[in-house]
C-alpha cells in the first residue's frame, strides 16, 4: 500500500487531537493583563462600616489575597468555606464587594462568617472594571510590593487551594 493513502488519516488524527485539546480548554478563562502589574488604585468605604475607608495603598507590605465577591453570587457561597480556612491560616484576605446591596452584603457576612480583613463596597462596579472582573468570584494574589502575581477565576476548590493558592503564596513570601 502506498504511503500517500495514510496522509488523509494522519491529517484526521492531528485534527482530532487538536479538537480534543480544545475541549479541555475553558473559554471562560480569559488571561488577565493585570498579572505583574501594580494593583489598580481605589479608595472606597467598607461594607462593615460606611465611615471607614479601604484604600488600595493598604495592599502592600504583605502577601495577600483580594477576592471579588457578592451576596448574589452563588459560587462565592461555594468557595466561602475555603476562604475561611485560608483566613484561619493567617493569610490576609481583602474583599471587593461587587455591585451588591449593602444590607445583603452585611447579612451575608454575619450569616456565613467574615473571612475578610476589610471589604470595599463597590456598588457601581467601577472598581470591578478597574480589576478586569467579568465573573465572580475572582481572586488575586498580591505580593509584598502590591503587585498582582496570580489571578484565579471562579470559586477556589480545595484542590486549587492546596495545589495553586498556597504554593504561590509560599513562593511569594520567600521573595
Amino acid at each position: 500500500m502506498k504511503m500517500v493513502y495514510f496522509i488523509p488519516m494522519g491529517i484526521f488524527i492531528a485534527l482530532s487531537a487538536l479538537l480534543l485539546f480544545g475541549l479541555s480548554n475553558d473559554p471562560r478563562r480569559v488571561p488577565s493583563p493585570l498579572i505583574n502589574k501594580p494593583v489598580p488604585t481605589f479608595s472606597l468605604s467598607t461594607v462593615e462600616d460606611q465611615n471607614k475607608i479601604f484604600s488600595s495603598k493598604e495592599l502592600t507590605g504583605q502577601v495577600a489575597l483580594v477576592n471579588i465577591w457578592a451576596s448574589w453570587c452563588r459560587s462565592c457561597r461555594a468557595e466561602h468555606a475555603i476562604l475561611e480556612r485560608l483566613a484561619g491560616k493567617g493569610i490576609p484576605i481583602y474583599g471587593i464587594n461587587y455591585k451588591d446591596n449593602l444590607a445583603d452584603a452585611k447579612n451575608w457576612l454575619q450569616r456565613y462568617g467574615n473571612p475578610y480583613r476589610k471589604s470595599a463596597y463597590d456598588v457601581q462596579g467601577k472598581i470591578g472594571i478597574e480589576w478586569g472582573a467579568y465573573g465572580t468570584p475572582e481572586t488575586f494574589i498580591i505580593d509584598t510590593q502590591g503587585i498582582i502575581r496570580y489571578k484565579h477565576i471562579g470559586p477556589i476548590s480545595k484542590e486549587d487551594m492546596d495545589n495553586i493558592i498556597l504554593p504561590v503564596i509560599a513562593r511569594l513570601r520567600t521573595l
Binding site: V30, S32, P33, P40, C76, G125, G154, P155
Partner: protein
C-alpha cells in the same frame, strides 16, 4: 462491541465534564440605572456606536457590547460612553479596555507575535492548497500527453499481432 465501548467512552466523558458545573459566575445582575446613553455630539455618538460594536462582552462571549443585555456589558457601555464624552478617541478607549480585560475584549485581534499564526495561517494554507493543485494538474497533463505510439517495441508489436490474429480467427 465497538459501539458499546464508544458509548462508555462518551458517557465517562460527559460525566467528567458534568462535575465542572460550579464555575465563575457570569455577572448578570440587572442594573437599576437604565437611563439611555444620550450624546449631543453626533461624531461622539458614532464613535461610541462603533466601539460598542467592536468590543466583546466577556460574559456572553459571542456577543458585542451593543447586543448584550448582561450587567457587565451595560457597565462597560456606560464606561465607553463616559470616555467618549471626555473626548477620547477610539484607540484610547480600546487601550483602556485592553489594559483591564486583555486582547480578548477586541473582536479583531491585534497583529503581534502571538497572533501571527492566526492572521497568516489561512493564507499559508491557501498557498499550500494552490501549489498542490498546480502540481497535481501538471502531473496529470504530463500523463495525458505521453506519446503512446512509441511505447511498443518491435517484439511487443509482433506479440500483439499474434494475439490479434488468434482472436480474429
Amino acid at each position: 462491541m465497538i459501539s458499546r465501548w464508544l458509548k462508555y467512552l462518551l458517557m465517562s466523558y460527559l460525566l467528567y465534564y458534568s462535575t465542572y458545573t460550579i464555575t465563575a459566575e457570569p455577572i448578570t445582575q440587572v442594573v437599576e440605572d437604565n437611563a439611555p446613553i444620550i450624546f449631543t455630539d453626533q461624531k461622539q455618538e458614532k464613535r461610541y456606536l462603533e466601539l460598542a460594536e467592536e468590543l466583546r462582552c466577556l460574559v456572553c462571549q459571542n456577543q458585542n457590547l451593543i447586543d448584550s443585555n448582561s450587567g457587565l456589558a451595560h457597565d462597560l457601555r456606560q464606561e465607553v460612553a463616559r470616555l467618549v464624552k471626555q473626548g477620547q478617541d477610539k484607540k484610547a478607549v480600546k487601550d483602556f479596555m485592553v489594559a483591564r480585560y486583555g486582547d480578548f475584549i477586541l473582536y479583531q485581534p491585534p497583529l503581534k507575535p502571538v497572533t501571527y499564526l492566526l492572521w497568516v495561517g489561512p493564507f499559508v494554507l491557501m498557498i499550500i492548497a494552490l501549489l498542490l493543485l498546480v502540481w497535481n494538474i501538471k502531473k496529470r497533463s504530463k500523463e495525458n500527453n505521453r506519446d503512446t505510439t512509441a511505447i511498443l517495441s518491435e517484439a511487443d508489436k509482433q506479440h500483439l499481432n499474434i494475439l490479434l490474429k488468434a482472436k480474429n480467427k
